[in-house]
């Protein structure tokens, strides 16, 4: 059990890191892009805009610590 937890922790740390909000923002942006595409709008522009917003918010949080 302890090894399984350590394994999960390693991957969480590896991919998500210390800002889970940024990872959640990415999942949300991908979901929104897929929903807009399904609705007939080719929303290629959404990911770059989301990246800019996620990065700005993440940096602001880090810089205000």
């Amino acid at each position: 059990m302890r090894r399984l937890r350590a394994f999960g922790h390693f991957w969480w740390d590896f991919v998500v890191g210390d800002d889970w909000r940024a990872a959640a923002g990415i999942v949300l942006a991908i979901g929104l892009t897929a929903a807009l595409v399904a609705a007939g709008l080719d929303a290629w522009w959404l990911m770059p805009a989301a990246v800019a917003a996620i990065l700005a918010l993440s940096l602001r949080r880090e810089a205000s610590r």
Binding site: F14, V15, V16, G17, D18, D19, A22, A23, I26, V27, A29, I30, G31, T33, A34, V37, A38, D42, A43, W44, L46, M47, P48, V51, A52, I54, L55, A56, S58, L59, E62, A63
Partner: protein, 244 residues
């Protein structure tokens, strides 16, 4: 363009990780003896090869759009971590990555650790080297497999990583000291930019969107991420000066 971009990205990302692994192996070898450290290095290399051999073919079986969606998302999360740290370092909000300081810290820890023999090896030296190489190598394996499989060419990505490995190993053997003159922080910045670029591109494609001009828009996304990063560094620098 995409092939060159792929090789360059895999080379840069791998070189950064290999420099970090070299620092740990050197610290272990100098303080705990070369035999245990080199066996740790070899054991980690075998473990990495097994992981790559198991995962590589499995990745090629996944439909490309699903792969791009998942890999794009993971790569973006991973890339934004690198980019955020690189921007914070470049703007002075975070200490620069210093291989000499890490080497000093690792050697101090290795010198004071008790000697425990297992299977004829100094266990501390073996595990320090094994863990360091395995963890840094996993990042390389992850980047090579995801970049390569999503772009349809694992061999090209592996070529970039292979060149980095040979270069770092040769320089490491020649100087036998941590590679402090490698512009590691600049390289990490570049890797963060590239991972974020590829992640943005693939995540959108995986979600079903079509980039104007297809692959030709990749350099435009790259330029956007670079401009965004430099703007962030500039803003954070001004903010730091304003509060100083």
């Amino acid at each position: 363009m995409t092939a060159a971009f792929l090789v360059a990205s895999a080379f840069l990302a791998s070189a950064v990780e290999f420099v970090e692994a070299l620092t740990i192996v050197l610290a272990s070898g100098i303080t705990r003896g070369w035999r245990s450290s080199l066996i740790g290095l070899a054991a980690a290399t075998v473990a990495l090869a097994a992981i790559v051999a198991a995962l590589g073919p499995a990745l090629t079986l996944i439909p490309i759009d699903v792969l791009r969606l998942v890999v794009g998302g993971i790569l973006l999360a991973f890339g934004l971590q690198w980019l955020r740290k690189a921007i914070l370092r470049a703007s002075g909000f975070k200490a620069l990555h210093d291989e000499a300081a890490i080497f000093a810290e690792e050697t101090a820890g290795a010198r004071t650790a008790a000697r425990e023999e297992r299977a004829g090896l100094d266990w501390y030296g073996f595990t320090l080297s094994f863990k360091g190489v395995l963890l840094e190598g996993l990042e390389v394996a992850f980047i090579v497999l995801t970049f390569g499989s999503t772009q349809g060419s694992i061999p090209l990505a592996a070529l970039g990583a292979g060149i980095a490995l040979v270069l770092v190993a040769v320089v490491g053997v020649l100087v036998r000291a941590p590679l402090t003159r490698v512009p590691e922080n600049t390289m990490k910045f570049a890797v963060g930019v590239m991972l974020t670029t590829f992640g943005t591109f693939w995540a959108a494609e995986g979600a079903g969107a079509h980039w104007p001009g297809d692959d030709a828009s990749l350099p435009v996304v790259l330029a956007f991420v670079i401009a965004l990063s430099f703007a962030a560094v500039g803003m954070l620098k001004r903010r730091r000066l304003a509060f100083a």
